[in-house]
């Protein structure tokens, strides 16, 4: 069964460093998303991406964040200068059309 994959599973970085989180969505899906979940809190929407551009973003997704689909399979989230409060689980999701979103296993980002 096709699934969303994410790498790395755990990333430790120092405050101020850049990180890139990678995702491979399900192959025939058209919509791509990033969400995050701070420990003990809700899953929060960050950004959605369709037709090679951002279709919607939350107030969390400021100038420190960017997304890219560099080729036909990968979808990346870049954080330019990490802060302590960026520590969270980051989930990639994808969907085919008007259907449900399928989530990846997540990347645990720890900023020290």
């Amino acid at each position: 069964e096709p699934e969303v994959t994410q790498t790395p599973s755990h990333q430790v970085t120092q405050m101020g460093q850049e990180v890139i989180l990678r995702c491979v969505p399900i192959s025939n899906h058209l919509y791509f998303y990033w969400y995050r979940q701070i420990l003990g809190q809700k899953v929060e929407f960050l950004v959605s991406f369709y037709n090679n551009e951002i279709s919607e973003k939350s107030e969390i997704f400021d100038d420190q964040f960017s997304v890219e689909r560099p080729d036909g399979s990968n979808f990346t989230l870049k954080i330019r200068s990490t802060k302590l409060e960026d520590s969270a689980m980051y989930f990639c999701a994808s969907k085919q059309g008007t259907y449900e979103q399928y989530f990846g296993p997540g990347t645990r980002l720890t900023v020290t």
């Binding site: 969400y35 809190q41 899953v43 008007t98 449900e100 979103q101 399928y102 645990r108």
Partner: protein, 110 residues
């Protein structure tokens, strides 16, 4: 503002003891209500989509129902492997994003 409230926060059941989880929502035009299961340290796993009031979906021991204000996830004769956090999310007709509740942590004891 679109929002989702889930109750209870945590629920402990004995194996075989049926119960229901609640998801109350307010949304400016419902496109869909979604139930997910989340195991510790893992991503949400899709369970059901409900689109309109009166709709019901079933999968093994789980049954989801929807009214205009809330959804219930009924768990019949649960087993220890049903232990997880159950998340409810809504999508408005005006956006593509999901708005999640805080979830219900279910523990089923043998």
């Amino acid at each position: 503002e679109d929002q989702v409230t889930q109750s209870p926060e945590a629920l402990r059941l004995q194996e075989g003891e049926s119960s229901s989880l609640n998801c109350s929502y307010t949304v400016s035009g419902l496109r869909g209500l979604f139930w997910y299961r989340q195991d510790p340290g893992k991503g949400p796993e899709f369970l059901f989509t409900l689109y309109s009031a009166g709709e019901e979906k079933e999968k093994e021991r789980l049954k989801a129902t929807l009214t205009k204000k809330e959804s219930f996830l009924h768990i019949t004769a649960p087993k220890p492997e049903d232990s997880a956090t159950y998340l409810c999310a809504v999508q408005s007709v005006f956006t593509n994003k999901l708005i999640f509740g805080t979830g219900t942590l279910l523990a089923v004891q043998p």
